[in-house]
């Protein structure tokens, strides 16, 4: 399948955004108000206009939520780039009874409700020492919305039987782990800016290095092993002529490329897949742990290196997810 830039950006950005929002929502729902310090330099406190914002500890948490909202919204906007008629995108909300794409659209919009509720509460109320019940309910709903949306995204692909590499039980865990992993990378990077004691950042960093990153890398390893175990569908099977003998295409139905051969006959990735897989695997696995080890001698800014490295690994993984997938229709073309 042709790796479309708009869809890769969508799944990578919104995946990271939902992972980040899930972690923040979980912390709030569990009653652990993340003790972010203001992101603005303390000198600004002298200016009366922004003073209250700086002294308000809710601000940094709201900023982290806003970063998540921006990633998710940017991703959703990118996905519109794939549409032939983007102005009609609102119609995609109607068929949630049967279509995973429609369900994803509905879930992504519903997730904005607790997100905007949290932001409104954080901006309008005095600093919270511990989250109120309303905040905790919003946090729990935010978690739920993030999980449901990412599950829908994964199901859009895993429900497509003609693309064997997507119709695979390892697709769903891959999307969930990678979303959490990239969300944790973003949150760690943000936390190094704002948390006074850095204990939360370090705990998050260690958790990602020791649990999330190995799970994400392992889920991809199992996925690749699974898709390699199946050969491509044969021309004989696709045409039903295998009952007569071995089938070979000797003439194409058209001299030039068409939509099908352009969209579904993409072969570049399979040529380089070993190297690209290795890059994706190791950068997903090692981004948090190596930069964590480096953080002690050189400082917390290595979280940003981890973010860049980890996200580029996820980007390559998502590119491969498309480029390596073979559509059954290509069997008719003998490719």
């Amino acid at each position: 399948m042709r790796p479309t830039f708009s869809i890769i950006c969508f799944t990578v950005l919104s995946g990271a955004g939902y992972g980040l929002l899930f972690l923040l929502g979980l912390a709030i729902a569990l009653g652990a108000m993340p003790t972010f310090r203001s992101l603005l330099p303390p000198e600004l406190e002298r200016f009366s206009a922004v003073g209250p914002l700086v002294t308000n500890p809710n601000l940094a948490l709201a900023t982290a939520l806003l970063v998540g909202a921006m990633l998710v919204s940017l991703g959703l906007l990118c996905s519109l780039g794939h549409l032939g008629k983007p102005a009609r995108a609102w119609r995609a909300l109607s068929q949630w009874r049967s279509s995973w794409l429609s369900r994803e659209g509905v879930a992504s919009l519903l997730t904005y409700v607790p997100l905007l509720g949290l932001l409104a509460d954080l901006f309008t109320h005095p600093p919270f020492a511990s989250p109120t019940l309303t905040l905790r309910i919003y946090g729990a709903l935010l978690c739920l919305g993030c999980v449901v949306t990412v599950v829908c995204t994964a199901h859009i692909y895993s429900s497509l039987k003609p693309i064997r590499a997507w119709h695979d039980r390892h697709v769903l865990p891959g999307y969930l782990y990678l979303s959490l992993h990239s969300g944790a990378l973003v949150l760690t990077a943000l936390a190094t800016l704002g948390i006074p004691t850095q204990t939360t950042a370090v705990a998050l960093w260690i958790g990602n290095a020791l649990i999330l990153a190995p799970c994400a890398a392992a889920s991809k390893w199992y996925y690749w092993r699974s898709i390699d175990a199946h050969g491509p569908p044969t021309t004989g099977r696709a045409t039903g002529l295998d009952r007569l003998g071995s089938v070979r295409s000797f003439e194409q139905p058209h001299t030039e490329a068409n939509y099908l051969t352009h969209e579904m006959g993409f072969v570049l990735a399979r040529k380089h897949s070993r190297k690209l897989r290795a890059f994706a695997f190791w950068s997903i696995l090692l981004a948090p742990i190596t930069t964590l080890l480096l953080a002690w001698p050189v400082g917390g800014f290595t979280a940003w290196i981890a973010l860049v490295l980890g996200l580029s690994g996820v980007f390559v993984e998502r590119w491969l997810f498309f480029a390596e997938a073979r559509h059954t229709v290509m069997a008719y073309y003998g490719r």
């Binding site: 995609a92 068929q95 429609s102 039987k161 009952r243 003998g245 939509y259 008719y332």
Partner: protein, 250 residues
């Protein structure tokens, strides 16, 4: 609605005879011509007379060589294979549609796209194992075979012409149109007689269209061994015939 009708009283579809198809592409051209101007048109091309013409066609005619082992050694059959929408009973392309643009008609089972609702997300084209759908770059929406729904019910046409354009155009009568839900229809009988088969049933789409496999070749390679001389009991013959048999056997 993208939820499917439970069952349709009629299952209109095509039966394609791989034995008689000569791969002339007349079906594809006639289809393109009709649908360029029909109710669902146009079907514009990019660079139509240039170096790299590209555009939507609802029929694509593949050509295959099938290698067979025979007692006389291996040989190749040429099989031309027209590929188009199979108007499945449980089409995966319809249920994935997020907008309700794709639908299956309850009355006759034809699978169509509502041009005004399609957002061009292309998920239906990904979901179809048979490559029946192509997006129009010019129109931004998904296009597919309509089984010439604007011909087959068109009362301004002669009754004999109320058939899909591809069926009308086929010079070898390799394409047949009819109700495959009715066991007594001509197409159903043809399928039963010639062992017509559905493509890739393992995907669970339950295609309505059927393909008739090529008949056994008549080049002698598959014919039964020549029967040996029939046994004849001479003793039972009358005297004249016994003499005749002896004379002819010399």
């Amino acid at each position: 609605m993208t939820t499917l009708p439970l069952s349709t009283p009629k299952k209109l579809g095509l039966v394609i005879d791989l034995d008689t198809c000569v791969g002339c592409h007349a079906c594809a051209v006639a289809c393109k011509e009709w649908n360029e101007g029909g109710d669902f048109g146009p079907l514009p091309d990019s660079d139509p007379y240039g170096k790299e013409p590209s555009g939507v066609w609802f029929n694509r005619v593949h050509s295959y060589a099938v290698e067979q082992a025979t007692p006389q050694g291996s040989r190749e059959l040429t099989v031309h294979f027209p590929r188009s929408c199979l108007h499945c009973e449980t089409p995966a392309c319809v249920t994935v549609c997020p907008t309700g643009a794709s639908y299956k008609r309850a009355e006759d089972g034809i699978v169509l796209v509502d041009e005004d609702k399609c957002i061009g997300c292309q998920l239906c084209a990904w979901a179809c194992p048979y490559g029946a759908r192509e997006i129009s770059a010019q129109r931004g929406t998904m296009q597919k075979c309509t089984l010439c729904v604007d011909r087959i019910y068109n009362e301004t046409l002669d009754e004999a012409d109320r058939q899909p354009a591809c069926v009308m155009a086929c010079p070898t009568r390799a394409r047949h149109f009819g109700d495959l839900g009715d066991a007594e229809s001509a197409v159903s009988k043809l399928v039963a007689e010639r062992d017509g088969y559905a493509l890739m049933p393992e995907f669970g789409c339950q295609p309505v269209n059927r393909y008739l496999p090529p008949r056994p070749r008549r080049d002698g390679s598959e014919s039964k061994p020549v029967p040996r001389e029939e046994a004849l009991d001479r003793e039972q013959l009358p005297g004249v015939l016994r003499w005749l048999d002896r004379a002819l056997s010399r």
